[in-house]
Amino acid sequence: MTGLTALNPLFLSLLPLAALPVVFHFFFRLKKSPRVFSTLMFFDRIDPKLNARRRLREWLILLLRTLLILFLLLALAHPVWFGLGKQGTVAVALVIDNSGSMRGTGEDGRTKLKEAVDAARGIIGQLRDRDRAGIILLVDDPVVPLPAGLSSDKSALRNALDHIGETEAGGSVAAAMARAVNLFKDSDATHFEIHILSDLQQEKWNQPPVDLPPPRAGTSIVVHRLPSPNLAKSNVGITGVRVPAKIILSGRRLPLEVQLASTTAGESRVRLNWQTDSGGSSSDEVVVPAHAEKTVNLTLESQSAGFRWVGLKIEGDDFDADNRAFIGFNCEEKKSVVFAGKPNEFGQLPLAISPTGEGKLSGLIPSFIDAANFANDQSAGNFVALTWNSFTTDSEARWAVLKKFLDAGGSALIVPAAGAPAQFGSVPDWLASVPGGLQSATNGLALTVLDKSHAMFNEIRDETGGVGLHNVKVFQFFPLRAAPAATPVLGLEDGRALLTEQKVGKGHLFASGIAFDSAWSTLTLKPAFIALAQNLVLTQTGAETNIVPLAAGEPLRLALPADTAVQVQSLGGSPLDWKGTLSQIATLPRAGIYAVRSEKETSFVAVRSSEKEGRQQFVSGGALPGLGQLVYSVKDFGGGDALVSEFKRLEKSLDLSPLLLLLALLALAGEGWLANPLPLKAKSAVATKTFAKEENAARR
């Protein structure tokens, strides 16, 4: 901010409007109504210079109108001469960018954040007793004990600065500026200053703000740009981690998908390390091409039941604020699958679900009960396989039992009985898929996938989204008449459904028109059948979870009221143990796995570092879209001493707007006086004298 600064420079851009009176004078001037008159001698007698005077007055009015607009616009631009004038009490807001990008090293080898904090410490040291200061962080950090509002307690302010640490989050410029502006709301200081210390990463500062409150009049906003001379030569960030969207069972290996992205121009060779909560760890070397994304598939060893998490970290690149990620998941005990009928009625399905029969590899343990006993034994597991034949006797009661089971959240599969004549009893109204008559095809009909997006096919889907289920022939089948409530999953090429899914209550019902037996189709002969059969049991579309994945700095979205008292503890990653209400902890700024405990429930938040912080583009000019309409100046950070001297200079200021307003008023008054002149009076004395002289001469 130079000596003379306009606090509302927008009005300076309107200065050309001062030429409007001249434009109007020449192009839109009031048309004089022309009038023929017998003589102008009387006007000349009133004042021989009447026309000249009028012209002079017109130009003066024009000049005064121009000056009026000029002074008014200048006054509205609110010019202030810093370094002159009176020295009052100062309220200063120090906005410190503690986002991930500030972990980059500055000119002197320290991190940019460290430079910013030290400079802020210098300003705090300059505060006089009457001065007040507040610290605003671009990224909310629950570990920093910020004083509430403005404070003159230097030790509290210094303590807050001491606790400011590097984060892995992207911050919100708008939110920080809103907090900074609101700091001055009730302040009685005479000068208001906002000093922003940031590297001005484009990712944050080029985002136009929404509903930024206007600052108090006379607030000086100075942005100190911390230079970023040491840009990372190679940088790979973790942009996402995915676990399969199905029930995760203990005893099964867990595949993980890790998305990586390179933000640098060269190829990056990094090492991806991961560690489970149980201490298991491993690593893999990954090569990510320049400015490209890459998906890495990991397989975790089988986990024990309960809430589990995995931490991932990249090593080997030049920027580490985007290198960590945590993912959490619930691991369930081995799951029992109840077959209500004889084993041979279900074809190869039991074998596909559990090859060893005890759930060693699949985590699924099959058990068989008499179909007639389903009503008593259905609590044995939450997945039940039944045959259509089961409902031939006492069908109404059995359908009712199945409905109750599904409503409670269970899942069921109804298939034709293999090796037995198909029999159907009456079907209830709620059943959306009803089998028709048995049809045969000696040469087989092609089985096709009708819903490629179904989670059942997740593990057999290729990169193009196609499902690897080719050349499957169906020899006999019951085509299903599917109502809209049922989603056809598998079927024939002519669109007839052979496997449908229907949501009933909290549970799911799969209805099949083919038995999973080689006599019915070649599906059971395909390797993909095992994954298909197991996913049929484990798929839980739309299942609720208490694990919230977030990028660091993203708003903490939990299904709890804002005033809920919570305790946030880190289970892995950055340490944190924080208590308060949910509204007080807006974000989690560092990667980790956090448990958010309230009286009623515990939620888990898996936080990964924000990959945006690794983008190495910084605002170089003086325009910051992130500050919207605020009036500010951008200065290159010249060290803590320069910042302190700037702060001291800004303490003195001379507001020129009252003077300009006064000048505008004077111009207005002058214009009014000239534009509305008093009526002219005849020069009676002179005229009479002239007349008398002439008369005397004539008489002589």
Partner: protein
């Protein structure tokens, strides 16, 4: 006779029949008339006595005076003659102005001139016509019959106001031309330096002529009847002047009043008869007001 003339319609002529133009100073006419002559002669109007001198007809001696005073005196009688009137009509372009009145000043002046010629001829006087602007343009010698007024009346109809007015020049010219004591009637808006006008009138007065000034003005010239910002264009010169009427109205009215006062006092000082006529006043009314019976 009057039916064919634009400026002397029959109705105007009818209304003017009862009017009579009188002169205060003796005039020299060619015929017996109603006006005093500077010469003594046969009439019923007694003038004065003078001593009898040889050569006087003895029948003019007043024997009654001789009986009382023993002196021979002769009784003298005022000669009465007709008047030769010269009507001067200003035809400068400023006379074309019309605003508040129904007629332009030119038309109004023509009506006045025609009416006066009719009145004069009707009372056995002679009326001539002189048209001028910056110089004398046309002159018609005095005629004493209605029939001989025809060229003058037609000339009035042909007037197209033009040029700038130099009233004093016309007056000086006329003063040099007229040999006998006459009545000079000046009809003009007199829009020039009043002193110059007065000098012309004095020249006529000095030559023993009776001068009557009929000053015709439009009411809008006396008081500005428009408002706002207006650009005025002078008729005679085409000069332009933007004015704020509201700003200048009072000063203008005062200046005009001063101008009229100057003229009135100048005429008074020159023993000329001055009459300001507003063109809104009907012509016959204006003439009645000036020449009607008191």
């Amino acid at each position: 006779m009057t039916a064919a003339y634009k400026f002397l319609p029959p109705e105007l002529a009818d209304r003017l029949r009862g009017l009579g133009v009188t002169v205060r100073r003796p005039v020299e006419g060619g015929l017996q008339g109603l006006h005093r002559s500077p010469h003594h002669g046969a009439s019923v109007e007694f003038a004065d006595y003078r001593e009898y001198t040889r050569g006087d007809p003895p029948n003019r001696i007043d024997w009654a005076v001789y009986a009382r005073t023993d002196r021979h005196v002769i009784r003298r009688y005022q000669e009465e003659t007709n008047v030769r009137a010269y009507i001067l009509v200003d035809t400068s372009e400023s006379m074309a102005f019309r605003d508040a009145g129904k007629l332009s000043k030119m038309d109004y002046a023509c009506h006045l001139a025609a009416g006066l010629m009719f009145v004069l001829v009707n009372q056995s006087d002679a009326a001539g016509l002189t048209l001028f602007n910056d110089a004398v343009q046309k002159q018609f010698p005095p005629a004493s019959s209605l029939g001989s007024l025809r060229p003058m009346l037609l000339a009035l109809e042909e007037i197209k106001p033009s040029g700038r007015s130099k009233i004093d020049k016309a007056l000086h010219t006329l003063a040099e031309q007229i040999q006998r004591r006459s009545l000079v009637i000046l009809i003009s808006d007199l829009l020039q330096n009043p002193a110059d006008t007065i000098r012309g009138i004095r020249h006529l007065q000095h030559n023993k002529h009776e001068v009557l000034v009929l000053h015709t003005l439009d009411a809008a010239e006396i008081n500005l009847n428009f408002s706002g910002f207006t650009e005025l264009r002078e008729l005679e010169t085409g000069a332009r002047l933007p004015v704020h009427a509201d700003e200048i109205r009072d000063a203008y009215a005062a200046e005009v009043q001063k101008f009229l006062d100057e003229l009135r006092r100048g005429c008074l000082g020159s023993l000329a008869d001055y009459q300001l006529i507003d063109t809104r006043t009907p012509v016959e009314e204006a003439l009645h007001a000036k020449f009607g019976q008191p």
